[in-house]
Symmetry: C2
Subunit: 138 residues, 2 copies
Amino acid sequence: MKPKGFVRKTKQREVILDVLRNTTCHPTADWVYQEVRKQMPHVSLGTIYRNLKTLSEHGEIQELCFGSTHSRFDANAHQHYHFVCEKCDIIEDIHMSAMDELEQKAEQMGDFKIRGHRLEFYGLCAQCAKEENMAKAN
Amino acid sequence: MKPKGFVRKTKQREVILDVLRNTTCHPTADWVYQEVRKQMPHVSLGTIYRNLKTLSEHGEIQELCFGSTHSRFDANAHQHYHFVCEKCDIIEDIHMSAMDELEQKAEQMGDFKIRGHRLEFYGLCAQCAKEENMAKAN
DNA sequence: GTAAATGCAAAGAATTTGCTAGCCC
DNA sequence: GGGCTAGCAAATTCTTTGCATTTAC
């Protein structure tokens, strides 16, 4: 007896998860779509969006939202931080231990119950920093 | 002699800034539009968007991007943190001193030059937490 | 068998852009 | 007066949705 609202395992969902888990970039829905299409030419963009939504609701992936207009997705659903290059928009994971003490500190500052936090750093990636220095030298 | 690319002071820009500075909510572009229209019925949405963009590029306001589909804006351009209620989406400022040491710590973890960071907390606001407790009691 | 998921296409929402006219400095 | 801006509307971009059909369990 399956519970109502059971999430089925479909070929599409598997491929999507697989694609996400095998990339270190933090792709957009459309990038995922292009990749999945290589294995399943008839997959539809709607299916990609529906699955990305389901997966993130079930905590299997993370939806990220940076300054840009579209969402990005990350197969690493664990708490971790990101770095975003302001010049080329590349996103990198930061392997830094989560700081839960931040939440305690913040909770003392206002009247709310904190359940999580997001921390992002921005600046210049190694490549863009190098280019900037070369430009300055001229 | 004005520098090329000089940013002009227009009535529209003034009203937009004024509206933003006189609210504690963190409004969407459309909310700003509705407010500005009360003072300038003929203002166009395109003007709102163009000005919000210009203002944030010049560091006079901050563009915020949370999980939702649209951007929100904050007239407080200083470094500060936010709390977002997961239930009602209300956004509150957190009056907590910025922690620049986070940036130093993160910079040691990867090969990039950090210029800033964003920190958001999410959970339940006082109102929603109260409602949740009442629901549980039944 | 039945609810959930897919494909396809059309709809929706948020934001951007092209163009002409107007206003700021 | 020259160029940045505004207004207006059309165009883009990203995402969601309706519906008939297929699939997982």
